[in-house]
């Protein structure tokens, strides 16, 4: 806009200034509006996250403690005979001991004894049995034992049963509440951290149910998934990115890998059901099969992440190595792959975190079975964390409500930890070019 080239319709300089001024205000308004939208969106997202976590914590925190009762048990030689172990009237022994701790209980009335016995978890007699079997000299002695109370009393202790409710609508009768209050009065009731949530496998009884089976199952499944999808995914990505000729076939493969990453997980479950279980005859409900299925799903994620990581290594490094006479394979394995590793690991961890939370394919291969022991190998039946949540959410007992939330919190804890590791790796090892 110099004078020499001035066209007749060029506006004078001060006019331009005014126009810029006017547009400046408009541009600034747009900028502010955009920022407001962004802050609004983030606020809504945070609010939702807060509501989610708050509701889980509020319903799940109770499951991290468990009401226990401590009682002095006289191992009556009449009921428990050494020669008949491991069989014996352990439940009667416990009931009698408990009844002695309560005032005004007719210990000769079997109906009352049964009622008293129901304070204890069904697992209590087995705990006592195991102790006596391990050490038969306990027969005839009085031993102190701390066992979980059954679910209704746990609920009562945690204040989840309203004492104001009419007796007929309540799970515990006035009499039963009185027993419990008496026990509490005597100091026999405690509410320690619920280690059973992590050391017990699943159970029909909420007070005994734990996540060990699910944790072990998820561990085996993820291990299988990692061992299979990591090398295969990286291998495929290296070949596609570094060695494959760029033609229609490789384009087709690339499109299909991207599509594969978007296939609904339930489809992989059906595939696994018919191929791994149907054709190969692998065991149902096994974490190994779960891991194979998850590997199918994780592989596209790993391939895509690895290719992106390989692509982000600058061509100058490849040229430098090639120019020195390195072969292509040396360029890839000595230069490109080490530099891409942080990105690959980040993508892999995020893929595994996704696999950890995946439910649908595991349901289809039967990993939602009711299994009361932890798997000792990837070929034993097991559940996984998300399927355990699914099972518990489906259970009618009140005690499973809080356990479901607690299990979700445990799962979220694992996911957050894995993602934190991924972020740490990225921050720590990412290279700026």
């Amino acid at each position: 806009m110099t004078d020499t080239s001035s066209a007749p319709n060029t506006p004078p300089r001060h006019g331009t200034g005014a126009a810029v001024q006017a547009s400046l205000a408009r541009r600034r308004r747009k900028q502010i509006a955009l920022q407001a939208c962004g802050i609004g969106a983030i606020s809504i997202a945070f609010l939702m996250l807060f509501i989610l976590v708050a509701s889980l914590v509020s319903s799940g925190y109770q499951a991290f403690t468990q009401t226990h009762v401590t009682l002095d048990v006289f191992v009556d030689p009449e009921e428990v005979r050494e020669e008949r172990l491991p069989r014996g009237g352990f439940d009667d022994v416990l009931a009698a001991s408990l009844a002695r701790m309560l005032p005004d209980v007719d210990t000769s009335d079997r109906a009352t004894l049964r009622q008293v016995e129901r304070i204890l978890s069904n697992g209590a007699q087995f705990a006592l049995r195991d102790m006596v079997v391990a050490d038969p000299s306990l027969i005839g002695q009085t031993i102190e034992i701390t066992v979980p109370v059954s679910d209704p009393y746990d609920q009562l202790n945690k204040g989840l049963i309203d004492r104001e409710t009419p007796e007929e609508n309540r799970r515990l009768k006035d009499e039963e509440i009185a027993y419990f209050d008496a026990l509490k009065e005597s100091g026999a009731i405690s509410k320690p951290f619920n280690f059973g949530l992590f050391t017990n496998a699943d159970s029909r009884f909420p007070e005994l149910a734990g996540l060990k089976g699910a944790l072990v199952g998820s561990f085996w499944a993820l291990l299988t998934c990692f061992v299979i999808s990591f090398p295969l995914g990286i291998g495929a990505a290296i070949y596609l990115e570094e060695f494959a000729p760029k033609n229609r076939v490789s384009d087709f493969i690339e499109v299909n890998i991207n599509n594969l990453a978007a296939v609904p997980s339930v489809v992989f479950g059906l595939l696994a059901l018919s191929v791994f279980i149907g054709w190969f005859g692998l065991p149902r409900s096994a974490p190994f099969v779960g891991g194979l299925t998850l590997a199918l799903m994780t592989m596209p994620t790993i391939i895509i992440a690895t290719r992106a990581a390989l692509k982000s290594v600058p061509p100058s490094i490849r040229e430098a190595a090639l120019g020195l006479g390195a072969s292509r394979q040396q360029v890839v394995f000595q230069h490109v792959l080490p530099l891409a590793m942080p990105g690959i690991l980040t993508g892999t961890i995020i893929g595994l975190a996704q696999a950890l939370g995946e439910t649908a394919p595991l349901l289809l291969i039967g990993m939602n079975a009711f299994i009361t022991s932890a798997a000792s190998s990837p070929f034993d039946s097991a559940t996984a964390l998300p399927t355990q949540i699914f099972i518990w959410a489906d259970s009618p007992e009140r005690g499973f409500v809080s356990r479901t939330s607690a299990a979700i919190l445990v799962l979220l804890g694992f996911l957050v930890t894995m993602n934190a590791i991924a972020i740490f790796l990225r921050q720590r090892f990412e290279r700026k070019w």
């Binding site: 000729p245 760029k246 120019g323 020195l324 006479g325 390195a326």
Partner: protein, 265 residues
């Protein structure tokens, strides 16, 4: 330095190291280099000049078959190194590149230690029998690249932590560590400041005692300063090739004259 180059010019040039006959390069449908024939002298500096996109870098990359690594690139014609066709199917480009080293426009040290940068070539080619050998090669190469005194106390420091000029000299050290007979330099000073440029130019002058250097440059002053032979490329063709003094003082082709006087480019 100027006296030196003048002296070389008068002495005349040595025998041919690389001979290219009718070289054509295609990138897909693009005809990037058109029928270029050139003879590159041994133990001399040959400069390729010309405007951007004239094919000089592409042609340079034919000399160590770096174009092989680009998808869709096709090279026709004959290039002989010491009388041997480098595009012969029997020739392994890996071996060729050990003989014909390359230095790139942007300094590109590996993100490894200075020592490992220089030692990489000798290691992959098995040039050192033991650690002492390798140490010696690294020191010799760094000395040849005139960077030894600056880095001898921190050979374990990452090569990427050096300044731009030092990085480029490190790359030159890395390239000469494999004892190449030819060193290709693709605008080695375009990312450097004038002081670093002067250091690299001095180095090129040193290197030509035992290496044939081919340098692509945008700077005509640089070509005039460092080279004995100059080739002028325009639109993919070799317009003129001759002694540097003659190209810059008495060009035969009007296009060369237009370029060196700044009318095209």
């Amino acid at each position: 330095m100027n006296d030196m180059t003048k002296f070389d010019r008068f002495v005349g040039l040595n025998e041919t190291k690389i001979s290219a006959q009718g070289v054509n390069v295609f990138y897909g449908d693009t005809h990037a280099v058109k029928d270029v024939s050139v003879e590159i002298a041994e133990r001399a500096v040959t400069a390729f000049i010309g405007p951007s996109g004239c094919g000089k870098s592409t042609f340079l990359r034919c000399l160590n078959r770096m174009n092989d690594t680009i998808d869709g690139a096709r090279v026709e014609g004959q290039i002989h190194l010491d009388g041997e066709d480098i595009y012969d199917p029997k020739v392994d480009p890996v071996q060729l590149r050990a003989k014909v080293g390359m230095v790139f426009q942007k300094p590109n040290p590996f993100p490894k230690s200075i020592y490992d940068n220089v030692a990489y070539g000798p290691r992959i080619h098995g040039l050192a029998r033991n650690k002492a050998d390798l140490d010696e090669i690294v020191e010799k190469s760094l000395r040849r690249a005139a960077i030894w005194d600056e880095v001898k106390d921190r050979l374990d420091a990452p090569g990427t932590g050096l300044s731009g000029g030092q990085q480029q000299r490190l790359c030159i050290a890395r390239a000469v560590a494999t004892e190449p007979e030819v060193l290709l330099m693709d605008e080695p000073c375009s990312a450097l400041d004038p002081i670093a440029t002067a250091q690299v130019e001095e180095l090129i002058d040193e290197l030509k005692r035992n290496v044939s250097v081919v340098i692509v440059t945008h700077s005509m002053q640089q070509a005039a300063r460092v080279s004995q032979k100059t080739a002028f490329f325009h639109l993919g063709t070799l317009v003129e090739y001759g002694d540097t003094g003659q190209i810059f003082t008495n060009p035969k082709d009007p296009r060369t004259e237009a370029y060196i006087t700044g009318r095209i480019g």
